[in-house]
């Protein structure tokens, strides 16, 4: 890992990382690149998020769908764990709740492959502070 030796280093690193994310979104085959985040805090894992995540990775791999599956922390929807957020290229992120293996398979088949929504969407009901600072 590169060492951060000054604030300029950090800023450069941040910009690089941000553009890397953008690059990923605007890759050569945007119609295929899907991003999935799985809420993996203690509560999510206890309700089966790990199984869901493993299933998604294997299933999407088996079907050769170009996807990045990552873990993240608590999304706050404890009543609907496990929760996942799916971002199709060019689309807004969509959060699905109660994603057991059956639901995960349905999401892959219907939403990820055909852009067709499935029951169990969780409307995002919060605003996040805008990280852009006033340097």
């Amino acid at each position: 890992m590169t060492k951060v030796k000054s604030l300029d280093d950090l800023r450069k690193m941040r910009d690089d990382l941000q553009s890397k994310v953008n690059l990923r979104e605007k890759s050569d085959h945007p119609e295929k690149m899907v991003q999935i985040k799985v809420s993996m805090a203690t509560c999510g894992i206890a309700s089966g998020a790990k199984e869901t995540m493993n299933f998604l990775i294997e299933e999407l791999d088996a079907q050769a769908i170009d996807t990045v599956v990552t873990q993240t922390g608590c999304m706050g929807y404890c009543y609907a764990e496990p929760t996942i957020e799916v971002t199709l290229p060019g689309e807004k992120p969509v959060v699905f709740g109660h994603v057991d293996l059956k639901k995960a398979a349905e999401i892959v088949e219907k939403y990820i492959k055909n852009g067709e929504l499935v029951d169990g969407i969780i409307p995002v009901n919060y605003e996040t502070v805008d990280e852009k600072n006033n340097e």
């Binding site: 890992m1 690193m13 805090a41 608590c74 706050g76 969780i122 600072n133």
Partner: protein
Amino acid sequence: MAKYNSHILVCGGTGCRASQGEEIVENLTRAIEENGIENEVQVVRTGCFGFCEKGPVVKIIPDNTFYVHVSPDDASEIIAEHLVKGRKVNRLLFVDPETQQAVSESKDMGFYKKQLRIALRNCGFINPENIEEYIARDGYAALGKALTSMTPEEVIKEIMDSGLRGRGGGGFPTGLKWDLTRKVESDVKYVVCNADEGDPGAFMDRSILEGDPHSVLEAMAINGYCTGASNGLIYIRAEYPLAIQRLKIAIDQARESGLLGKDIFGTGFDFDVEMRYGAGAFVCGEETSLIHSMEGLRGEPTVKPPFPSEKGYKGKPTNVNNVETYANIPVILLKGSEWFSRIGSEKSKGTKVFALAGKVNNVGLIEVPMGTTLREVIFDIGGGIKDGKKFKAVQTGGPSGGCLTEKHLDIPIDYDNLLQCGSMMGSGGMIVMDEDDCMVSMAKFYLDFTVEESCGKCAPCRIGNKRLYEMLDKITKGNGTEEDLARLRNLSNVIKDTSLCGLGQTSPNPVLSTMENFPEEYLAHVKDGKCPAGQCRSLMEYVIDEDKCVGCTLCSRVCPVDAISGDKKMPHVIDVSVCIKCGACMEKCKFGAISVQ
């Protein structure tokens, strides 16, 4: 294959479903078929929109039109007008109560977005095990800014001006605490993160550490810079293995990137963080106990002063802050105190994270600006009470807090208002209770916890709480007298006044606040020998209704103590002197003949 160009989202939250959500879905689907657009429009059920008061709600995408108070009869109009002709159904739009204007897009509804995530800004967004994702979200930029362009005094002034107060429950001004530690001269100082979250039902700090560990590390380093400390310690309970694992990964990555360790940002500032594990004692959330526990001593409090800012860990000046307090710091430095102090109420700035639990539909982790009312939290964000029951009370502040009732629902939540109502902010646990919960039993539950967790050092807490528990137990068993109620109140006040630390000083709060808000419930227990909520087993009596009983003998066969007798096809009887009130008979009875009185 159908390629839908419009979606209709129908709220499938418990509240909306109760108010005909399913029927709306059916009617919409039918209307879509009638108009022959089933290949263009799809109806989808969603989770709760957090807009329950206006339910049932329906949202059309992609144009994000929001319809409120929709009835099944409106379905055909929505389809025919909006989806076929492209004209919005104005009468179903949300009318802004202030401007009296119809608003169609949910993002324009100030009312709708009640949650603002500052401390939780990265939770559920970044991968907590990857420092790069944190840096991409401006992580460690606040530390960089502080180290390279601000003096410690300027940073502290910024925190003071922001109005940030301790999120662990006490509400002490954070900037002032830092300043006190900074002013004490010493060769070595320590910065501590209190991650000993112990309230039953609270999981805010765990979620932050599991979802965004770097924000805490960054803030601790900023704290170190301000107070002159180069050692950070995180005191975390061993029951949080995932949080510990993620913190360890975060510390390693920060060290590798040179963001912890020697000469950070080339400024000559050294700072590193170590972990200390607690065994899960509630009293160790109190800062002096926490420090003793870290030193390898018994987790017992000592009298303040001296405060940890003068004599803390190993006798050196120590600054202890809570996880959520730290998580706010980087944002304040980047966006400025002026921005932060615009959020919240007059004396409590910013937001507060709550773990919403109990008899509420949307159990979850929420973050709202200070000054939000309990009604908004419980009924809008929380989606109301489970199974359509009636709201009775909400306990804030865990075992140290008190209960708030119907009459407190519209009070803006902040440190001072909650204290005035006889409760407290606490660390942010919020347990909602419905009509089936007995307040005496609730107080007894918390006292049971306190008795278990009292360290035993001072007499009022060690002995007094035990006596309180015994009195409550007596009352719930139907043996209490009215004199007991007076004694209960008296002893509670003595414990509050004379205990050594925060644990004892607040432990009678659940008793006092339930006595204050539900005096009739206590009286019913001692005078009439009845538990109005039907929860105290000893005060219940199972009876068989002779008219409904058909004599199937199912109940007598399931009774574990043979308390039920009667001939076949004849009404049965329960012998109350033998009955242990397990409720097995009532569960088995197919005719609803058995009831509790």
